[in-house]
Symmetry: C2
Subunit: 937 residues, 2 copies
């Protein structure tokens, strides 16, 4: 196991290091790693920050200001447009210099739509100068807030403004933001004893292979007490060096907080960096990668390293990796059981009576032809192999597995809640509210729309007042209309695509069946199915990309107020469209295919000539299985390999090629060419696009794993294999392919949890229907316990086949020529209908209704059982682990102790001062007053 996983890890690493620019990082970080083998977080932080031992401008060394002491906490990038003044138009229209910015930031791309609106509000004339002025005012504002700023000395096209947050500002903001930091006080966790101890150590051992290369911290049972930072209580905190006390992510967060609230009132009426980015005043704004730290992240794996990822990327991305880790870990038992169910099918196929009967040539069932005129009657025993294959996926164990998977989903969700709760605690997020500020930040597009609306009423309204205003219903109406109609259109497109493939199958099948060649005829079904599934897959892949873009576009039209609303709406729409797209073909095969085909003598036709398709004679389940397997595997392989690896590579190759071509024109820049600094390298990377695509991929996969698990028990295995690679690719992508994202704190994975829980609930229903309607489980049970005379399955096949009198064929639909007896009076077909000789010939028989009732009863039983068990699981697994509860209680008591001790100390000190300085010391007065209670105002 370990070996396999290590192999994956190495593959991922190899892939990374073979990237164009990656070797540089790998080498450097390797050097850095050798320098300090200890992974202890604090040391890592302090060792790799501002290398006083090698202050030269080495690759990646550019993490500091020129003085080599102050670290760069944030970088703002803009283009100096002096050369472009002759073609100003292109500048104004999108705020970017096309030829110079190979990677326009997402924000400025989005801003394009609004440029016209924006620029209208500003003085049109000297756009460059105006932007320079805005920048100047903004940076002055930053300096007033206390930030330290460094500019490039050389005059290049792409310019960087580097920001450093000094200690005084850090500590003030940390106090205001109530950031929790470790205190000096540590305590020891109780060792688990008894059964729990054995289990937990066993779990640790199992987890080992997923955590390669992570040295144990000195003593995992020693925990550090943490408390919201307060400048009054500096002595409580474990401050080794003021430079490294706050993590990089926190420094970035504080820098962003100041960037967010710095207003720009004279040159333009706006506030915050996001508006400026939208206006094109800045191209991009990001914190810097920290190479040594970054390498540790992509070397590490699965869940345990989420702690490091969090330190580096902030809680939001850390949570994603932690979630992915939990999901992948829990896929292991599901995969194991899935394989076991499959193997059970393999081992018992020979003792299965129905498939034996299907293969028994002596029983001699002559079946009605599969198409009109050109098809012949056929022997049931000819589809023996399909029947046997079908049994592999459609046996008793599958039902148990489906129930297990419902429970699994519940356990997964509950386990994740617990894990999330633990992470909240160990990441010091307890008691802290979500990053409300960032969540509630108004979107520039919204602001501008509002501004435009306000302008008609009164000019020069303050930002504060703006925030309390909101768009009315009528402002949003057009957006909503477009939204609803686009979604309906997209739904229509999806269904058309599915129907198109169905028609393709029906028509091609009919046409190919007319082929007189016997050899070709035999392969018709295989050919048609294969081509159809591949077409399906391609349609799914193409529409997937389109839907992602459309969801973002139509949400933009809705003018959502805040970034978080925007994100949520995009996610919901994208999920709706993408999941429908991915699952619609499977749904069709599972629940609709073959249900409307009619019966011999009364078939249903499309376009008057083509018979509706039926399931293959082996049953619908095996078709679902094939459809699901190919779409799921194909989607994963193609999206992982082509979209996530090949396309970025191609993009980069194209960019290099273009740069080389443009090189001759770029002499000026070449002159000032120097060793690239960290910020140059980072600016070359792709901008961070959010976590949504990563989550979406996983959530759709989760859908494949749970929704149809009753028909394809191997789904978890494939998902597991995919994720083991995915988790490494994602980590690598985040550190080597994209700019460092802002560290956003988040307590929860938000809407994704709701989506997962929705999928899990829906999965119970789909699985219930798959088992009772798609699989043969219920008819078999009903036969065995209601109709079988011996109580065994013998005679089942005969019972499921209805009789048809060949003289009842509609004129011209009977087979033209046949290998069978020309006088054949009776052929069989799969349905529960009364025989031709009964009173109500060809009507649905009593058996049909009893089987239907049993199927429906099973749906009710299964659904309620699974729901009840899920609720039981959710109730039995407490959201907060007992150990964490104990720990919290302990910490609370310790903190109380600490505060009370401090209280007593303070009182003494203060009364001391009081006596010394008398009534003059008025600031202290108030404090003593409240503490000792001796002075009452």
């Amino acid at each position: 196991m370990t070996q396999i996983l290590n192999f994956f890890a190495e593959t991922a690493n190899y892939t990374l290091c073979s990237f164009e620019r990656a070797p540089r990082i790998c080498n450097y970080s390797f050097r850095c790693t050798v320098m300090q083998m200890c992974l202890d977080v604090t040391e890592l932080k302090s060792a790799c920050v501002c290398f006083q031992e090698e202050p030269g401008p080495g690759p990646g060394g550019g993490l500091c200001f020129a003085d080599g002491r102050r670290r760069v906490d944030y970088v703002l990038v803009y283009h100096c447009k002096r050369r472009q003044s002759q073609h100003r138009h292109s500048v104004v229209s999108n705020g970017n210099v096309p030829s110079q910015s190979p990677t326009p930031s997402r924000r400025s791309t989005k801003g394009d739509i609004l440029e016209a609106v924006l620029e209208a509000g500003l003085a049109m004339e000297p756009a460059n100068e105006l932007q320079d002025k805005i920048r100047e005012e903004f940076e002055r504002g930053l300096q007033e807030e206390g930030l330290e700023i460094e500019h490039d000395k050389e005059m290049r096209t792409v310019r960087f403004t580097r920001l450093h947050v000094p200690w005084s500002i850090l500590s003030r903001e940390a106090e205001l933001l109530k950031i929790r930091v470790p205190t000096k006080k540590t305590y020891q966790l109780k060792e688990k004893t008894g059964l729990m101890g054995v289990i937990s150590s066993f779990w640790m051992k199992i987890n080992q292979p997923f955590q390669p290369g992570v040295p144990e911290p000195q003593d995992p049972r020693i925990r550090v007490l943490s408390q919201p930072f307060s400048r009054d209580k500096l002595h409580l905190f474990d401050i080794k060096s003021k430079n490294n006390f706050f993590s990089n992510a926190t420094r970035g967060r504080i820098a962003y907080e100041i960037l967010r609230r710095t207003a720009c009132t004279q040159t333009c009426q706006t506030m915050g960096i996001s508006s400026l980015l939208a206006k094109g005043v800045y191209d991009s704004a990001f914190p810097l990668h920290d190479v040594s730290f970054a390498f540790q992240i992509h070397k590490g794996s699965v869940s345990c390293l989420s702690v490091f990822k969090r330190k580096y990327f902030g809680e939001k991305i850390g949570l994603y990796f932690a979630w992915l880790g939990v999901y992948t870990q829990l896929l292991i038992p599901a995969s194991a059981l899935g394989v076991a169910v499959f193997l059970y099918g393999c081992f018992t196929v020979d003792t299965n009576v129905p498939s034996q009967e299907m293969c028994d040539e002596r029983l001699n069932f002559t079946m009605c032809p599969l198409c009109d005129r050109v098809c012949d009657y056929w022997q049931l025993s000819s589809i023996c192999s399909t029947a046997r294959t079908s049994y592999l996926f459609d046996n008793h164990a599958t039902v148990g597995f489906a129930i297990f998977m419902s429970l699994w989903a519940a356990v997964f969700l509950e386990h994740w809640k617990r894990r999330q709760r633990c992470l909240q605690h160990s990441w010091d997020l307890t008691g802290m509210e979500d990053d409300e500020v960032r969540k509630n930040e108004l979107r520039p597009a919204y602001e501008d729309f509002l501004l435009k609306k306000q302008e008609k009423k009164a000019k020069n309204k303050k930002k504060e007042e703006l925030a309390s205003e909101s768009l009315s219903w009528t402002d949003r109406l057009p957006g909503y209309c477009i939204n609803i109609s686009s979604i309906l259109l997209m739904v229509g497109v999806t269904f058309s695509a599915v129907s198109g493939v169905i028609l393709y199958r029906i028509i091609v099948f009919a046409v190919m069946s007319m082929n007189p060649d016997h050899e070709a005829k035999a392969n018709v079904r295989v050919t048609v199915t294969t081509t159809a599934v591949i077409i399906n897959l391609l349609v799914v892949l193409v529409l997937d990309e389109i839907y992602g873009a459309i969801a973002a576009w139509i949400t933009e039209l809705e003018i959502p107020k805040t970034e978080s609303t925007f994100e949520e709406h995009v996610i919901l729409k994208a999920f709706l469209l993408k999941s429908m797209n991915a699952f619609a073909p499977v749904f069709y095969v599972a629940f609709f295919k073959g249900r409307f085909a009619g019966r011999p003598g009364d078939y249903v036709y499309v376009f008057k000539d083509f018979r509706m398709e039926e399931c293959s004679p082996g049953g619908c389940l095996i078709e679902v299985c094939i459809q699901l397997g190919i779409i799921m595997l194909g989607k994963q392989l193609i999206q992982n390999n082509v979209f996530e690896i090949a396309i970025p590579k191609l993009k980069k190759m194209y960019r290099t090629y273009k740069e080389e071509k443009d090189g001759s024109a770029d002499d000026e820049d070449k002159d000032s060419k120097r060793e690239p600094q960290r910020w140059d390298l980072d600016y070359d990377l792709e901008p961070y696009e959010g976590l949504s695509p990563e989550y979406m991929e996983m959530v759709i996969q989760y859908g494949f794993v749970t929704l149809f698990v009753a028909s394809f028990p191997l789904a978890p295995v494939f998902a597991l294999l995919n994720n083991v690679i995915e988790i490494r690719l994602d980590a690598a992508k985040f550190v080597t392919e994209i700019r460092r994202p802002d560290a956003v704190s988040a307590k929860e994975i938000g809407i994704w949890y709701n989506i997962l829980s929705g999928i899990s609930k829906f999965a119970v229903i789909t699985n219930a229907f798959v088992i009772s309607f798609t699989s043969e489980f219920i008819p078999r049970m009903v036969y065995q316990y209601l109709y079988s005379e011996t109580g065994t399955m013998h005679g089942y096949t005969n019972h499921t086949l209805a009789y048809f009198n060949t003289s009842n064929f509609k004129p011209g639909t009977a087979p033209h020529d046949t290998d069978f007896d020309r006088q054949l009076r009776i052929c069989r077909y799969k349905d529960y209908r009364d025989p031709p000789w009964s009173l109500e010939s060809y009507q649905l028989s009593k058996q049909y209704w009893s089987v239907l009732a049993a199927r429906l009863a099973f749906v009710i039983f299964f659904q309620n059982l699974a729901m009840f068990l899920s609720m039981l699981v959710a109730w039995l697994i407490p959201d907060v682990p007992r150990s964490l509860k104990e720990q919290l209680k302990r910490e609370k008591a310790l903190l109380m102790d600490l505060l009370l001790t401090e209280e007593a100390d303070k009182q003494c000190t203060q009364s001391h001062i009081l006596t010394e300085y008398g009534p003059k010391c008025f600031a202290v007065h108030t404090i003593c007053n409240s503490a000792s209670g001796t002075f009452i105002s």
Copy 2:
């Protein structure tokens, strides 16, 4: 409407004031109310606290220490046992003096079991002296903590220790407990405009009748900003008078906090008042009622006054009343629709074809006899009236109403979540954790068990260490075993009771049918049903009380660790047992009655002679309706009137009688008789027993309202009427009948929410089954759309009746003598079976299976539709109202402003001090250091 409600309010008041001791309070509070008509909370608080204008020991005036200035925040009560030394045994064995304490506190009653254990660990000899010493040490501890104590001057049997919390302690604890208090800063809420404004003002108007006598605050749109209390920031808070800054409830809470953590190490190794209560050192501990305030509460009503209730009782009880208010308000639309559905039934009964057909004598259906031998055949038209009544509850509208009620339940839960969130905000609980301290407090029983266990290992372990230890699995095993077996036993008892009533019905029916008197015979069914339902009701009521006691008892044996665990476990068990008890008879009638009766010629017999009972010929639904109506109404009326009013009254009468009888022996006390102080009066009240009984009653009612609403649409109306009274009775009970409970802060109603949500989910299932299996809705639909030749309901009655050949009666079961033709060959019975002349005579027919399939399909459809709609409702209604979100954002911004301004001020002040006092001022040094960043240590 207003008049009706006022009438209820008056009734409730009348009931209260007619109570023995109540007039005193009513009169006094009336005086108080006249004194200050303004209900404004702050004024109320300050006006009625420590009446400096009438400091004499008037009734209820005893809210202060003897100096008339310091208010009594908490009272500890104990018995002085000097007289009882001769019969010390009774003292030791339960810590109470039986003859002297008519109302032993709950805690000491519980303590009884443990007395033996406890006393074993203490010096056995002079129990009284030991207790005196413990008290002495404990009270010394309290004084060291800063509390001020007053004892009685006279030496009486019942002694009171009164505690006052001075400002210095209040402020210290408030800071440590992070209690949020109002600041001076206020802000104005935005007025709602447009549609929302109209709706909200309309809602206000509707709510008016539920809020009688509540004067509007000056401007409802002005809100006060609140912040956790901090002694460093006293200038920020709106402190008018230090005596009244913290509400009574908060003062009580702080007093309790100190009582909880004060240890007693020398005389006994224990900590906190709850242990001492369990040991019998103190009899009781409670805060004092505040009469004027209390009267306002029971005068007010429904939900709006929950604010006052919260101020007075703390958040936990405030939440209960708020919840009850929301529930009652939301019952109004449900009741209205329920009545509408019933009326729809009344108006359309004449146009209903099936009931017309049943009443049509021309159709002449001769039905098979209802009992063997003695019963005759009968005409279907004879049950015309039952059929018509049945239709009132079983029509199309009922189905719609059932779906509506599922949605209603979802809306109720969501609306409550929002309301709770709003209350959290307006009660300043946002960001505050639940009262963890109180929740995690160890139960004395648990502690003692642990102590006993530890004693074997090592003596004199510290309390701290104890807390981290826990009971092992084996310690709890006996408790769990008893638990499980008792629960199983109780379940058995419930089912036996139900079966007993069934047997009673079967046997009495059979016996009475043999009565030759025709008159009596006609009334058999009515008599049997009535008596059976009344027996059922009595059984339910009796078992309800028993189960409550048993749940508490078996949970005690489980030795739960904390009070909250205990409470939760008791609630779960009591709910399980009580709901089963209340609903089992209804379930039986709805889903089982008549299903196992067999068919003519093949009936099922119990005890060989008695035929299993069938539903009345009008259908099962009407029986469900009767059963439900009687149990629900009976339970409410009897529990409300008898148990909540009559029994306490009887108790009090008995006590008075006993006191008078014992009076002669009590000369000593009589000598020292003086005007009773507030604490004397309060001690005479019943101890507070927790909110569980109140919640339980309402939750069971909620079950009646939702679970079978498809069969009894009038349930919400009855619930509404009950609640309008209940809400007043409860409020009155809390202020006049029981001692003032400790103010416990709670953010949520806890486990009750889960129970409610569980009931709502279960209700969807039961309603689905009631509609499809108990009502005739599905057979009618199936007939109309599948079998009816005209597409109308004509012929439906004939279709539902199967044929029976009278010659197939088992020997001796045919009617002995009959008014009908002796040659009658065919009688009819209600079932879907093949006729005697078919091949499979008396087998379930194809119709049966198709109707069954339709019933099951409807269950699936209804369940999933209701679940989906509920989820949609839950998703559409955001947990946090938009207005609250805006408000929170606004407050956050204001707070940030406030802090930043203060920041700037502080910096100036401090630099001023620094220059003045130089390096000597070392305490200030640290602060300046962090603020200005100029000194780096």
